[in-house]
């Protein structure tokens, strides 16, 4: 549950985005630009967190009244080396912020920290990741929480989609790319698994809200409505000008589901409304046309 230090929205003095060049970081940067928030966007060019001097570089860039968004990660974390590198990146951020405290830190984590069978997922669900990616985010959360004495907001988005998504992961983005080429969309099994998909602009808007309210605590970022992969594929195909086949395959793994109870989000930001999946996919189709 988030607690707001600012009950009413108040623009932060300056927001430093660590990882502004990425898919999510770029969306956050665009959102804050639209909100006219002073910003220092840091991409790998300005700050490579894997370099030995990263902590000192970051420390020099920070001011006490900054709000920092830490969204930089090597993702998804597929192997031990990536895991260690991601933790080294977090170590650098911890070291910088330990010597130069700031007004607020927002860490963009992931719902991968939760146990696979934690349905419906809430912010209090068991954190027992089954993937290196989830372990990485949970370890980073704990590093930040135990090292730093400053208002910390941990945001755990579920599967994010958007026109600029660079990944080709199973779901809206891959389906869209296949549909654009007129290729068959192949489902795992019949695509029965249900997942919650959140538009990257919603992630950015909620990060902006967290910064404006100088919130601390934990918040999941999910719409509260899960759809099966087949439904997602059908929505994508319906938006495509091409005729695209959706094809099932013999199931190799048990069907799993992920649903969210988003009550904490409703309480934290009662005015906020997520973009419904169908509408979000249409937005993506339009932007990528």
């Amino acid at each position: 549950m988030l607690e707001h230090s600012n009950p009413a929205r108040k623009a932060p003095s300056r927001v430093v985005i660590i990882g502004a060049g990425g898919f999510v970081g770029g969306a956050i940067s665009a959102c804050l630009t639209a909100d006219k928030v002073p910003m220092l966007p840091l991409t790998r060019q300005e700050l490579d967190l894997l370099k030995p001097e990263a902590a000192a570089t970051l420390q020099r860039l920070l001011r006490a009244d900054d709000s920092v968004v830490f969204v930089s990660a090597l993702a998804p974390t597929r192997n031990n080396g990536m895991l260690i590198d991601n933790l080294r990146m977090a170590e650098a951020v911890c070291a910088a912020l330990a010597t130069q405290p700031v007004a607020q830190l927002a860490y963009i984590s992931s719902d991968a920290v939760y146990s696979d069978d934690a349905n419906p997922v809430t912010e209090r669900s068991c954190q027992q990741p089954s993937s290196l990616h989830g372990v990485m985010h949970l370890a980073r959360e704990i590093m930040l929480r135990t090292t730093l004495k400053l208002p910390l907001a941990i945001l755990r988005p579920t599967l994010i989609y958007g026109a600029k998504d660079p990944h080709n992961g199973y779901g809206p983005n891959r389906f869209r790319l296949l549909a654009a080429k007129g290729e068959v969309i192949t489902l795992f099994g019949e695509g029965e698994e249900k997942r919650d998909h959140v538009h990257v602009d919603d992630v950015a808007a909620l990060v902006s809200a967290v910064l404006h309210h100088r919130s601390k605590g934990v918040l999941n970022i999910a719409t509260g409505r899960s759809a099966s992969f087949r439904e997602v594929a059908e929505m994508v195909v319906a938006l495509s000008p091409r005729s695209v086949e959706i094809r099932g395959t013999p199931r190799q793994n048990p069907i799993t589901y992920r649903h969210f109870d988003i009550t904490d989000g409703l309480k934290a930001f009662p005015e906020f409304r997520y973009v419904p999946l169908r509408e979000g996919l249409a937005r993506v189709a339009k932007e990528s046309a």
């Binding site: 109870d261 009550t263 409703l266 009662p270």
Partner: protein, 430 residues
């Protein structure tokens, strides 16, 4: 011996109703409370609690009961019940400092042979630790149910008594008082009785949690939990009295207190109690049903929401852990119109809430209406009247106060616990 004089220390909801129940059986009763203003009000017939039948009960035994704010007046009693409230903190943990101080005062005022009976919810081990000889010290399980307090106090199904030696007969004065109610008396060790109270509540919570869990599933798969309940109640292993009505979590505070106590004792002793934590999580989830539904249904930024009921349940003025107040606390963006037959609108504690003069007035012009307490008076509302005065169509009726068919027929979208939403456009009842 002559009929014992019975004292009650703490004119709380529990204390007042229990004192009047004992007086109604012909015993002389002294009701003590340190709050002089409260004592004056009660003595003048202005009872601080609302319960069906309570005023009549008080009038019927006025000659046998006296009230005092002087603890020394308990010195005339043969038997004194401790009936103070034991408050809980935000985490549901009991604060025992008040009751401990109260007991110390009362013990100092007792006559040398008077008995002390702890009637409040205390954790196992509390009674045995009190500084009074065990032959004068007892614990009695209270089973107060808000809204049914008089019925349960005057016609208890049994008495559970904690004592040092359950093999010994109860003292004459205590046996006389309990015997007047004509129900079974079950003596047991202090700790057993204290745990029995918690066990009762845990069983009730288990039933309610099952009902809430399956009611939510019913909402999503097209079943109607209301149709299932009679089938369960006809099963002798479940029974007619089973708590199977779905609700908005576990309200009222006392049940949560017991869950917290069990969780704590299990942590301390290493016993396995994960189901207790599951009860708590489910309660929290279902308490917010109305929040989720309202935010899903109402998309207008400047919506006006009507709230009927602020009390945590019908026939009580208590708002402790009220689902209605929990809902209201999540409705910051919207304007509210609120009405409760007993609780003042100010209890809503919402910057944009205004009180209404009646239930129907609270529905006038609203985009959505939530009936959050099943007050009997709300059952008189006609859906057609609501549909006429409301601006929107959405009605949340978790406790099925309204006639569902009439609501849908009147053009309302009807959302309740345990069944899928019934939308006027989709349902045409024959």
């Amino acid at each position: 011996m002559s009929a014992p004089v019975v004292g009650f220390a703490g004119l709380t909801h529990l204390g007042l109703v229990s004192a009047l129940a004992v007086a109604s059986k012909g015993f002389r009763v002294v009701g003590y409370d340190a709050d002089a203003a409260r004592v004056r009000d009660i003595a003048a017939g202005r009872l601080p609690v609302v319960e069906p039948g309570l005023d009549e009960l008080a009038r019927g035994c006025a000659q046998r009961i006296s009230f005092s704010s002087q603890v020394k007046d308990l010195g005339a009693c043969d038997l004194v019940y401790i009936s103070t409230d034991v408050p809980t903190d935000d985490r549901g943990q009991s604060d025992l400092s008040g009751i401990s101080a109260s007991i110390a005062q009362v013990i100092a005022s007792l006559s040398p042979r008077a008995l002390l009976v702890v009637l409040c919810q205390v954790p196992p081990g509390f009674t045995r630790a009190l500084p009074l000889p065990s032959e004068r010290l007892f614990y009695q399980v209270e089973t107060l149910v808000f809204g049914r307090a008089v019925e349960r106090a005057t016609r208890p199904e049994r008495y559970i008594v904690g004592c040092a030696d359950p093999g010994k007969a109860l003292p004459e004065a205590f046996a006389a008082v309990l015997g007047a109610f004509g129900c079974p008396i079950l003596p047991m060790r202090y700790e057993s009785a204290e745990l029995a109270k918690i066990a009762i509540n845990c069983c009730l919570v288990a039933s309610v949690t099952i009902a809430n869990t399956l009611a939510e599933l019913s909402e999503r798969i097209g079943a109607d939990w209301r149709e299932i309940v009679p089938a369960l109640k006809l099963d002798a292993r479940i029974g007619q009295g089973a708590y199977l009505a779905p609700g908005l979590g576990i309200a009222g505070g006392n049940l949560e207190r017991d869950l917290v106590t069990i969780a704590r004792l299990s942590q301390e002793t290493g016993s396995e109690a994960s189901v207790i934590l599951a009860f708590v999580a489910n309660s929290r989830h279902r308490r917010d049903w109305a929040t989720r539904v309202l935010h899903e249904e109402v998309r207008k930024a400047d919506a006006l929401i009507g709230i009927l009921g602020l009390a945590y349940k019908e026939n009580t003025h208590s708002t402790k852990n009220s689902p209605s107040l929990a809902l209201i606390s999540t409705l910051a963006p919207w304007r509210l119109k609120v009405y409760d037959p007993v609780v003042p609108a100010a209890a809503a504690n919402h910057p944009r809430a205004q009180g209404a003069a009646s239930a129907l007035a609270a529905a006038e012009g609203v985009d959505a209406l939530a009936i959050m307490t099943p007050w009997p008076a709300f059952r008189e509302l006609k859906p057609a009247d609501l549909a006429r005065v409301m601006a929107g169509r959405t009605v949340l009726d978790p406790y099925r106060v309204l006639d569902e068919r009439a609501a849908v027929a009147a053009g309302l979208d009807y959302l309740t616990l345990g069944a899928p939403p019934r939308r006027a456009k989709e349902h045409r009842y024959a």
